[in-house]
Symmetry: C2
Subunit: 468 residues, 2 copies
């Protein structure tokens, strides 16, 4: 079964690959043309090249330019550089740009944005700069942005848009449509009408397609679904992403602490959250703080330095373990030759378990209810694979050195280390999660410390006991 | 700046954590209650507990049961076990269930589903079983499902729904609304009307909110946006996910090879794709084929075995390198004590670069246009961090063993290995990608082979040259 599915995957990746020239990818020729026009100072030609592009593609094009030229490119782009373009630029690149750009240019861009996008642009700015930009924004928009900024970072409050179409349940379809045609301040994009009670609490929602299919005299209470998932404003965005994915939502009402409607989160924002959260897990497991491809070299270096420093400490710890056995190593150099095998196998087996555990916690497939069962299974898997690799590695070592006790020692150490790896690969992320630390953070370094120390200790210890 | 942002993250994770009892999580008490009712054979109480739940939560509850009890639970659930529940169960669990369930029960469930969901349920079944189920499906639905199955796995053709509201540009808003009220076979959920020309090619789209805000005499051509992103039916789902995220789409028309409209992909399906693709990268980098938390122990074991076997091969390769220096090791046991440090630092530094590269390829931030620049930066980062860690590790070793040449040797080997790691961490995923192999597959094992071999070779080689 497994092989069947893998075959299918392989076939497909041959048939329709993710190619450099994928659908709607930014054309490399275009990038070169813009770069040349910019170089010779031909701003109007830059503008002509950018005008037909989608805002997200203009943002990508700005990202592709070397940092030193981005500011000039934006000046050249003039009117084409809108708030939407700014909102689509990656955080790292945008933060640098915002420090350089004139306040008036930033303000012009931000005032065209919905509150949620304006907040996402402003939230990463240094406080003095943020204050400066906020003070220059027109009064009424500033109030909404400032209120959103009072909600914690990564909360539903930062993610939501404030314009909502909220109507009482006794309105008819006809009245609703007429109201919408009057064009009072409606949200830019929306997919559902939220139905509220007298105290403005959401009690249901009506998708626009249901509204369009219904006859004019029907009321919203006839049409609404009542199994809506309201989101408290302080909910973490990861949680919001989970709810949207679990229930296939396109939008969800956000409520304040009193239960009344204060905004709506829409799926386009949640798609970004889901990407970001999955990416975060991947990067943290590998000891990188953020995608740093657009970051300056020095910042990239420091961002990775911390993890490497911790790793140096754990590697030295492993060396101290080995040092305890330097007498044994001197007597039997085969131990030195073979010792990385046990540590490396433990590290890999542990990483497998840990990665599955980190994902399963994020998708809520692992929880305190099934922890015991999952642990039992992981230990069984570790025992089985440990047994097989004990035979393979032990057999290879015994043949290589024509020394059967040496084979038994490496085999025994392998089983010990792979069971340790399975145990800690599951337990470390679970403990971090229960301590309310992101399970991906630091899990990798803790795990390899354990598997290195146990790996060397078991192998050299057993060797000292039985071989010398 | 970095520290500011990290502080903010930490604050928030304390304020609104992803807790066991998150929003709308399946209640562990409920799971226990259902398990007890099932045990004593009280099927009607099982049904009463399940009835108020959302289909996605019923699916989660089935997943949480031990494999042996799932079949019985579904029998107990009776009518509550619908096609939507089946479609929401994870692939691994579902495939096992489908093998066990009566064909009539599977057919009943599948016929209530939209074509895209029916296909996602059927596509992983073994061919004989798939045929058996298909043959039992009523004629008209079978044709649509069979046609979808002719498209490659993971293509837009499998992802799309076939019911589309496609109208000519000269229709008025009034005519369109009247047509929808007549309730001809409309898709279950939709967000846009697709506007087509005489040959059924999509030329624009009108979001439903625009339709509702417009006056009845306006025509679709007045309202439609023409910068639509059409998706060729053979496009890989990863590409589809990219297009939706890049352009904030909620739905997109799918066209056949002749350019005519044949279906629509909606954002709810794409959210799952984005999750799956990000997850796939994470798992492949760690050498796990799929989230195997619900997989049987034996399958899990075999799924992870292959990667471990490859790792055993590379670990033995590293041992062979060490073996070349067994004379040196015998003379100077300090080399054996310190050698894991250099290899481990290279492995970690390389993994950092590789993870960033894999994500950047997936998000198209890394491409042949900026490869040279990114490589230059990675080498600079490697040189800088290599230099710092050469001083730290070399200094520590020199002090530990009171042997300054030993410190120089470990420092030199550190710089060599970290630059190698930066180079291969970037180059390996890029080469895999250009060869049209998923860059996450096998990248990890190739990289650690390189960093282990180069790490041991550089350290022991320099040691043999300069210390003995």
């Amino acid at each position: 079964m497994v092989s069947k599915r893998e075959d299918a995957d392989r076939d497909l990746s041959r048939a329709v690959p993710l190619s450099e020239n994928g659908l709607y990818t930014l054309d490399s020729d275009l990038v070169r043309r813009v770069a040349k026009a910019l170089e010779r100072g031909d701003f109007s030609s830059v503008r002509d090249s950018l005008t037909p592009l989608h805002k997200a593609d203009i943002a990508d094009l700005i990202e592709r330019f070397p940092q030193a030229n981005r500011h000039k490119l934006i000046i050249a782009a003039g009117e084409v550089f809108t708030g939407d373009v700014l909102a689509n630029i990656e955080d790292d690149v945008r933060d640098d740009l915002l420090e350089d750009l004139d306040t008036s240019k930033v303000v012009d861009a931000i005032t065209t944005l919905e509150v949620d996008d304006a907040v996402s642009v402003l939230e990463d700015l240094g406080l003095p700069r943020q204050r400066e930009v906020l003070d220059a924004i027109p009064q009424e928009e500033r109030a909404a942005v400032e209120e959103s900024l009072t909600f914690p970072e990564n909360s539903a409050g930062r993610l939501m848009q404030r314009d909502v179409l909220a109507l009482p349940a006794n309105w008819t379809v006809g009245k609703t449509i007429d109201h919408m045609r009057d064009g009072v301040s409606l949200p830019d994009d929306f997919y559902e009408v939220i139905v509220v009670n007298a105290t403005q609490e959401p009690i249901g929602s009506v998708r626009l397609d249901k509204l369009l299919r219904a006859r004019r005299p029907e009321t919203l209470s006839d049409l609404m679904r009542t199994d809506i998932k309201t989101i408290p404003v302080l909910t973490d965005q990861e949680e919001v992403g989970y709810v949207f994915e679990q229930y296939d939502l396109v939008s969800a009402p956000v409520v304040g602490t009193d239960g009344s409607l204060i905004g709506v989160v829409t799926v386009d924002d949640v798609v970004d959250v889901i990407q970001d959260e999955a990416e975060e897990d991947l990067l943290r497991l590998s000891g990188v703080a953020e995608t740093d491809i657009y970051r300056a070299t020095l910042e990239t270096m420091w961002g990775r330095f911390t993890w490497l420093l911790v790793n140096l400490g754990t590697a030295i710890l492993a060396s101290i373990v080995i040092y305890q056995f330097d007498g044994s190593l001197e007597k039997m150099v085969a131990l030195a030759v073979l010792m990385p095998i046990v540590a490396s196998m433990g590290g890999n087996a542990g990483t497998q378990t840990m990665t599955v555990a980190v994902r399963a916690i994020a998708t809520r497939d692992l929880n305190m209810g099934n922890l015991g069962r999952v642990l039992g299974k992981e230990l069984l898997v570790a025992l089985a694979n440990g047994g097989i690799f004990a035979i393979l590695a032990g057999g290879a070592a015994a043949l290589w050195y024509k020394d059967y006790p040496l084979g038994l020692v490496i085999g025994g150490a392998m089983i010990i280390n792979m069971i340790t790896a399975g145990l800690f690969g599951l337990v470390i992320p679970v403990i971090l999660w229960r301590l309310r630390i992101d399970p991906a953070t630091a899990a990798g370094v803790l795990l390899t410390t354990v598997t290195d120390v146990v790996g060397f200790l078991a192998f050299l210890g057993l060797g000292a006991l039985f071989l010398l």
